[in-house]
Symmetry: C2
């Protein structure tokens, strides 16, 4: 297998050329050139850090069903009492800062699509986890593996997305205990962007790593990150056995985990922004520490998912100011800790790709972009609080993703961009449309939306008075019709298919 | 009339109590507690200032059809050649900084609704200028005075809006040369929030001032700002006679003007952000200078309206990254100049209150909020590049306006908000929904959207599967049905009606 990996690497240059031919050329990730928006002062952040340390020392975190983890913490100097682990102030931070990388490269099977996660970089990733899909033609329905493949293909073709994601939707037509094979395979087969592994059981995490080894080679995987996988904290302040099992597999294999407190504020955390961020920091510190105890230097991301619970109905709400404040605060805390940060995305509660979906998504996307999110899970497709993956919503969000790339690239201050020649050419009352300066730049001057209609009312009417979702419906169908798979070494493809066949045949289907 | 003004002021406390009874209590404007997002460095801003100074000195600005204005500039040391005025580097800045107020209070007829424009304050204002209206029931149609009154009423009732605006839509059923009477009257009659005056002719500006004097008293108006009115620059680098006439009326009467370069970048300005911002600064400097030459100390706002022209179709586009960069840069330049700043709003090109409308609006609203816009014209209602005022769009944008108020209020770091007691009460695995801390705060904890549906799919389906626009449709109708006019002294009302009758009878209707 390492031989196959070596062959793979040998073909890097050809692979890059191929990739340019099949997908619109785009940067593999965003290198930020603008400042962060720092909503909180240093004093405020220090206060939250102090309180998180108090939580860790006085209340502690529960680590369930995993004696090995408790042993690791005990040996590192934490106080263990049953499943409860308490950390002296500063203990987690010192362990993390001794070994956790500030940023890391996640390799894609096409080297031109490898991403650097952390520092000033932003990687935009599809939505994760929805059991349903939604489109204008068939409405809302359970997702299938065909839907899964479709979203992998769409993400591959979207120039604004840098990552293939993980569970872009749940293929509920496949057995629960075997669908991860088809998911990991589909990412490798239908895309050449980096991907996420399974976390629903330790053995499925190991399967993800083993399949990655078939693609990249054993040694390469041991020394390099090829998977970034999502470890949700069972907030408040609990890590369960399933998540710990997957966390251990990935960390041991030197693969990245995103340690993500999963917060519906007011239910899983206090009903205030400050209290919520304090808890998020405490949970993240504990989980990130664990990765470094398992394998010092294993790549790890400080994650945050925060919605606010409606105090009227108990429903999670998105795109409101309080979760935005949580993102601004948590991003700054991750920077101070010195690890990459995950949050944000096109989050919304709407059941449709309508105005609510767009307001809520845009509010969160803008926040995450300005806050400095490094790994933006859920960038595209998310509907209904994450229960549905929307085809039209995906197209709309990808348009926003491309805009984020432009925004983070900042203002061009070059002499040419200062445009003094354009003023000298024209003057008061003279429009610039035909000026030499405009003609030189017009192709690339302004971002052109793929889905917005900015034409006159008359022209828009003549073209059928379509709303945004209807235009997006046309776009995703055309993209899928135009899709061409990136080349995959047939030997690797066959090895992946063999592995799946053998593993699937080795145990019974199960629905859990 | 000054007697009537005095009576008015005498009744201030009662007026305030009344206002609280008729409209949901809300702050009269937003006092910002979070930092600005400074996208550009000091060096970048200095470069733009330097280039703007070069534009003013080397190319200059045209001031058309107004010898008086040319004379004023000449006397102030500018170089006048025909209608072209050139300014030595730093001249405009020094004139402005000698007398223009950093912030000013615009008085509302209800003192509790007076707003302070400038500094760390944000005032959110309805959209301005659309000749059409749009709603789900009747689609798009020409606006009428009934529509105008409806939007004044809706803005009065919206807790997120702080201002009644100006031409909330064009009442095209009234003669062009007389409709300003009904517009100004409707603002005074149906709202007690501050308003904008007419600018379409100098005499109409004077009518606006004279009507304001009937409400506030002559002397009060001479010494205080009661109107903030919009002076668009005829970009690139031209002020026309109409705008100059209105500018002079307002400045002479000590009333505020918003000097707004009106830019479709690539057409009225260079096709780059830096070039566009340079031109905006030059135009604003020249116009603001003029207000101070007419009446030193007259309140004045640095305005910016910037869209990007689609290089494919020539249509203006909104909500894309480049206009956002213009707002961030121009806001910072206005702060450095030391005058209040106007920009932003719920700008969009969409013909419908759909996802495009919402993405574009949210992108601009978020930008304007973080950039530090003081006077946010077009906050609510704008559709179709400003050609239509949408009833449903207005409701949706007002919801966003309220959220901006929460966002700019920042994070509560009080001991109570730190929520350490909530953690002590619960602990790992214990949810917070029933905790004493949550129960104490749940009423006000998180912003509750007026228009979003965050319920389950099942409940949403049972309630008719409405999209956001359909829910907004129900809301505006209910608001108009529930509307109660704020009390207006019958003597003032009669004086305003008398004035209108006399003036309207004194000349013929005209359609220009």
């Amino acid at each position: 297998m390492s031989e196959r990996g070596a062959r793979r690497k040998g073909g890097g240059r050809a692979g890059r050329r191929e990739a340019r031919n099949t997908v619109a050329t785009s940067a593999p990730f965003i290198e930020r050139k603008i400042p962060y928006f720092e909503m909180l002062s240093t004093e405020a952040l220090e206060l939250i850090e102090h309180n998180a340390d108090r939580l860790l020392a006085e209340i502690g975190i529960d680590f369930l069903d995993d004696p090995e983890v408790l042993e690791l913490f005990k040996n590192a100097g934490a106080e263990v009492e049953g499943t409860r682990v308490r950390f002296a102030p500063g203990l987690c931070r010192s362990i993390i800062q001794a070994s956790a990388p500030k940023s890391y490269t996640q390799h894609a099977r096409n080297p031109a699509r490898s991403v650097t996660i952390g520092g000033k970089n932003t990687v935009l990733v599809p939505a994760y986890g929805p059991p349903f899909v939604h489109d204008l033609d068939k409405g809302r329905r359970y997702a299938t593996i065909e839907d899964f493949r479709n979203f992998v293909k769409l993400a591959y073709m979207a120039p604004g997305l840098h990552h293939s994601g993980g569970t872009v939707c749940e293929p509920v037509d496949l057995p629960v205990n075997k669908r991860h094979y088809d998911m990991v395979y589909s990412h490798f087969k239908y895309s050449d962007k980096p991907l996420m592994g399974s976390v629903t059981l330790d053995s499925r995490a190991q399967d993800s790593v083993d399949m990655a080894k078939l693609v990249f080679g054993d040694e390469f995987v041991d020394q390099n990150c090829v998977l970034t996988s999502l470890i949700n904290v069972n907030s408040p302040m609990v890590f369960d056995g399933t998540m710990l099992g997957s966390l251990k597999v990935y960390a041991r294999n030197n693969q990245a985990t995103v340690i993500s407190p999963f917060i519906l504020a007011g239910a899983m955390s206090p009903v205030t922004v400050t209290g919520t961020v304090t808890q998020i920091l405490a949970e993240a510190l504990a989980g990130i520490t664990l990765t470094q105890l398992i394998r010092p230097g294993a790549p790890v991301v400080f994650g945050t998912f925060a919605a606010a619970v409606s105090m009227a109905t108990g429903a999670p709400t998105f795109g409101t100011p309080e979760p935005s404040m949580v993102i601004y605060a948590a991003a700054a805390l991750a920077r101070r800790l010195g690890v990459p940060f995950r949050s944000g995305g096109g989050l919304c509660a709407s059941k449709l790709p309508d105005a609510q979906a767009a307001y809520e998504s845009a509010n969160t996307l803008q926040t995450a972009a300005l806050a400095g999110v490094n790994f933006m899970l859920h960038t595209a497709g998310w509907l209904e609080g994450g229960l549905a993956m929307g085809y039209e919503k995906f197209i709309m969000d990808c348009d926003q993703a491309s805009m984020i790339g432009v925004l983070l690239n900042g203002v061009d201050l070059s002499e040419d961009a200062q445009a003094m020649s354009a003023f000298e050419e024209g003057g008061p009352g003279k429009h610039f449309l035909g000026s030499a300066h405009t003609l030189k730049h017009f192709e690339t001057a302004f971002y052109r939306s793929t889905v917005a209609d900015s034409n006159s009312y008359e022209q828009w009417s003549a073209e059928g008075s379509l709303d945004t979702a209807q235009r997006a419906n046309v776009i995703w169908k055309k993209m899928l019709a135009d899709y061409e798979a990136p080349a995959l070494d047939p030997a690797i493809d066959e090895a992946l298919l063999d592995y799946m066949r053998q593993r699937k045949a080795s145990f019974e289907d199960r629905d859990y």
